[in-house]
Amino acid sequence: MTHDDASSTFSAGRSSAPLLTLHRCRASHTFFFAHKNCPFCGANLEEIDSQPDAVLVSHTTVRVSPTGTPFKLGLARVACGAQTLCIVEGEIGTVPGEEVVIIEKGGLYHAQPRKPR
């Protein structure tokens, strides 16, 4: 099943990155995380595909981390409302709302700017 409602949100149309697999209950609560049941209503979840286009809800550069290596962490939201933590790649502005593309790498989601700076 293709969940296709990301297309109208983004200014420059869809990216060519692979679709994301999300999880949705019949009440349309949608998640990146593969819960056994919906944490809000308890219903079964089905897998859906989503466009990888997202906006950064918030982000930070983690300068003090256990590994000692700074990295950028973000929270991204796709058009259907599902959100995920993500490693942010590339240059981004300081104001939330930047358009990004979500890509899965090594079991983690990464966000890349849609418009290179």
Binding site: P39, V57, T60, T61, R63, V64, L75, P96
Partner: protein, 371 residues
Amino acid sequence: MTRIGRLDADLVAIAAEAARGVLSDTDLTLVSDIYIASFAPSELCGMTNPLRSLSHAIQTEFPRLRATYHGIFKTGGDALFTALGAMNGASSPREPGVVMVLGVEKMTHLPPAKTAGLLSQRENPHDRAYGATLPALGALVTRKYLEAYRVPESALHEVAVKNHENGSKNPKAHFQNTITKDEVARSPLVCDPLRRLHCAPTSDGGAAVLLGTSQGDVWYRGWGKGTDVPLFQEREDISRFAATAQASSLAREMAKIRTGDVDVVEIHDAFTSFEFINLEEMGFYTMGSAWRALEAGDLRINSSLAVNTSGGMKAKGHPIGSTGITASVELWEQLTGRAGVRQHRGARLGMIQSAGGVSNESYVFVVDSVS
């Protein structure tokens, strides 16, 4: 309550000192239950059975105690909430007499990065996989909050300045120095927009309170607990703390009070933005407006609402398992007129808000002066 800060004593000795502070003048035969909180005694201090070790420390100090020990609770707020519930007849199998609630933490003996790494083991594995430490998640909340409500970053500095001012009047605070907005603004970024002087330190310390069913100096008039969705990323709005709103509503309803009745509040300010968000979620201000109250001179000692008179976690310090209990001690001092130079004039009704994680769960207590 012990001094908060970088202490030479180990976890067991800090717990014993905190217990001495309240049990030395108490009829030990009346103490029926002891609730102990410590967030990460296994990770930070290598204790394989912290309840046994800490109860042994207390029992060694007071061998005549015949109390039942409960725990280990993660936070002081958690332990206090559970103890009050038990005393209220919800779950205690026997009639409680005097109950001691003790919180303790030892954190400063390890390098900060190692402490952060060990503490992250207590966080959600999903968040940990992304390297999402508490300051990192706090920064995501803060950036979204500043943007959503158009709160200037300088307002975060002002909270730090105010809480250090209060901490400078607290002889038990970790930091007893005043700071300027300029110093806060120039302090190094930890996770932008959070700077070092926006963040509570890691601290050592312990505190204990006694609760009884007979009349004491203050009265826990209401309490409530709230929880948010388990995964941070699934919060509908990360600039809101639903757990605090829920806990506060329950506590106010139980106590039958309005926010306008409250004189003094000890509130979770692990990051200075959290002081604003928690105040707003508790209903003292509309969302995004607490900073204007601070700018207008409120939230200070002897204003209409005094917030974090102890210095808060920011300046008093943040020995995690003990923080909720240190807040309780502060309100006891405020409501009984024992707070010395940081006494808030006419303090009669107070609230405590204590949280775990990034407000994953929140505890709120309403404390009234008996007089």
